[in-house]
């Protein structure tokens, strides 16, 4: 059985969060409703954006600039 998107996300989240600018890794949906892994950045980071994979085990990886996340 192929791994679930949750398993894939858990496996790679730590590695992604160690990249400069990465502040979040989660599971969302694309506009067609298909599950995707979403990586959040605190601002533009061209190097990190270049290094992040487009696809992980058949699941698309989307990158969004969400800004720094702060306790409110």
């Amino acid at each position: 059985m192929s791994p679930s998107i949750q398993e894939i996300k858990e496996k790679h989240a730590g590695r992604f969060l160690a990249m400069p600018g990465v502040v979040s890794v989660g599971i969302g949906r694309d506009p067609d409703g298909k599950p995707v892994i979403i990586v959040g950045l605190d601002g533009p980071h061209p190097q990190t954006q270049k290094k992040l994979p487009r696809v992980l085990d058949d699941y698309p990886v989307h990158v969004e600039i969400i800004g720094p996340v702060k306790a409110q």
Partner: protein, 334 residues
């Protein structure tokens, strides 16, 4: 009797200031006179009063005359009239959605009431009620929070009872270019190091991940708190947050806002003040629906089931603890 409204308006214009100068009168206007509980067809000058008093308790100058320039008067008891209080005001009883905070913080939001061992507690964030771990059980909780004018001892509403410690990532050593994630503090009872201890490089030690930023405070007096959440009402039950779920919150700063769960299983690094970062996992992420001071807001679904506890956000996102993780960490129920 047939007096037209224009002439009554003129009479009222001339006399309202005088009427409002009398003790007890809080408003004047024009309305149909009510006699023995029934609305009549006669227009009258209505004087609203804080309370209806027998003539014997009123001095002559404070009495409402039976007629003014031939127009009948009516007296209506409304109680004192106040501006609708703001969420940053003092509220007793205090409902969910108003300002609250530990003595040493600025202010956050009173989320909702919860039960533990049959007792009632106020639920909010650790960083609202327990000053981000820098607090002791028994510390005073103020409503409103200090930045909204809450002062000890007059505005204390509760005492800190229990909090889930937030485990922060160790500060990055200077010159490290932010590559290492840092070694997390091992002090917490919930601390869990995943990965091999034999590995030597800090970057390979998986940081301790938090599930919740939560704390409870015990009200000194149960009459001082209310089960209602402002602009929402009472909580119907619990619900698990899912992708695409419509949600709402009621908070100190942005009040009632709505949104949608856009991500689940979120692992996120959150800044606390200057320099401190804590990693949280199994979070819900919604679009922008909060600002500073909304922390601690209860998050509900469309049918008023409790889904989460709001604690952080960015310009475009809101980060929410799952309520099931909050309840299990602190042993809570509704």
């Amino acid at each position: 009797m047939n007096i037209d409204i224009t002439s009554i308006r003129d009479i009222l214009k001339d006399t309202s200031r005088k009427l409002l100068g009398r003790a007890n009168i809080v408003a004047t206007g024009i309305g149909y006179k009510i006699t023995k509980g029934e609305k009549t067809s006669d227009l009258s000058i209505v004087c609203s009063v804080k309370e209806k008093l027998p003539a014997s308790q009123l001095s002559k100058k404070d009495m409402v005359p039976a007629t003014i320039n031939g127009t009948p008067t009516d007296v209506l008891e409304t109680g004192p009239i106040r501006a609708f209080p703001a969420r940053t005001d003092r509220w007793r009883p205090a409902p969910g959605g108003v300002s609250i905070g530990h003595r040493d913080i600025t202010a956050g939001t009173l989320g909702c009431l919860v039960k533990k061992n049959g007792q009632t507690f106020i639920l909010s964030n650790n960083h609202v009620l327990a000053n981000s771990n820098n607090a002791q059980p028994g510390d005073p909780i103020l409503q409103p929070g200090p930045i909204d004018g809450g002062k000890w001892p007059n505005d204390r509403i509760a005492e800190l009872h229990e909090f889930v410690e937030i485990v922060f990532l160790a500060p990055e050593p200077p010159g490290d270019c932010g590559v290492a994630r840092g070694v997390a503090s091992l002090l917490s009872g919930i601390a869990k190091i995943v990965g091999s201890k034999s590995r030597l490089r800090a970057v390979n030690i998986r940081a301790v991940e938090n599930l919740v930023d939560a704390a409870i405070a015990r009200p000194f007096n149960e009459q001082d708190v209310s089960n209602e959440i402002l602009e929402i009402g009472t909580i119907k039950g619990l619900s698990q947050g899912e992708l695409g779920m419509a949600i709402k919150k009621s908070g100190r700063t942005t009040e009632l806002t709505t949104g949608e769960i856009q991500q689940v299983n979120v692992t996120v690094n959150v800044q606390y003040g200057t320099g401190l970062i804590a990693s949280f996992t199994d979070q819900l992420m919604a679009g922008a629906m909060s600002q500073g001071g909304d922390s601690g807001s209860a998050v509900l679904d469309n049918t008023d089931n409790l889904v989460g506890l709001l604690f952080a956000g960015s310009d475009t996102t809101t980060i929410i603890n799952r309520i099931e993780n909050v309840f299990s960490a602190l042993g809570l129920g509704l």
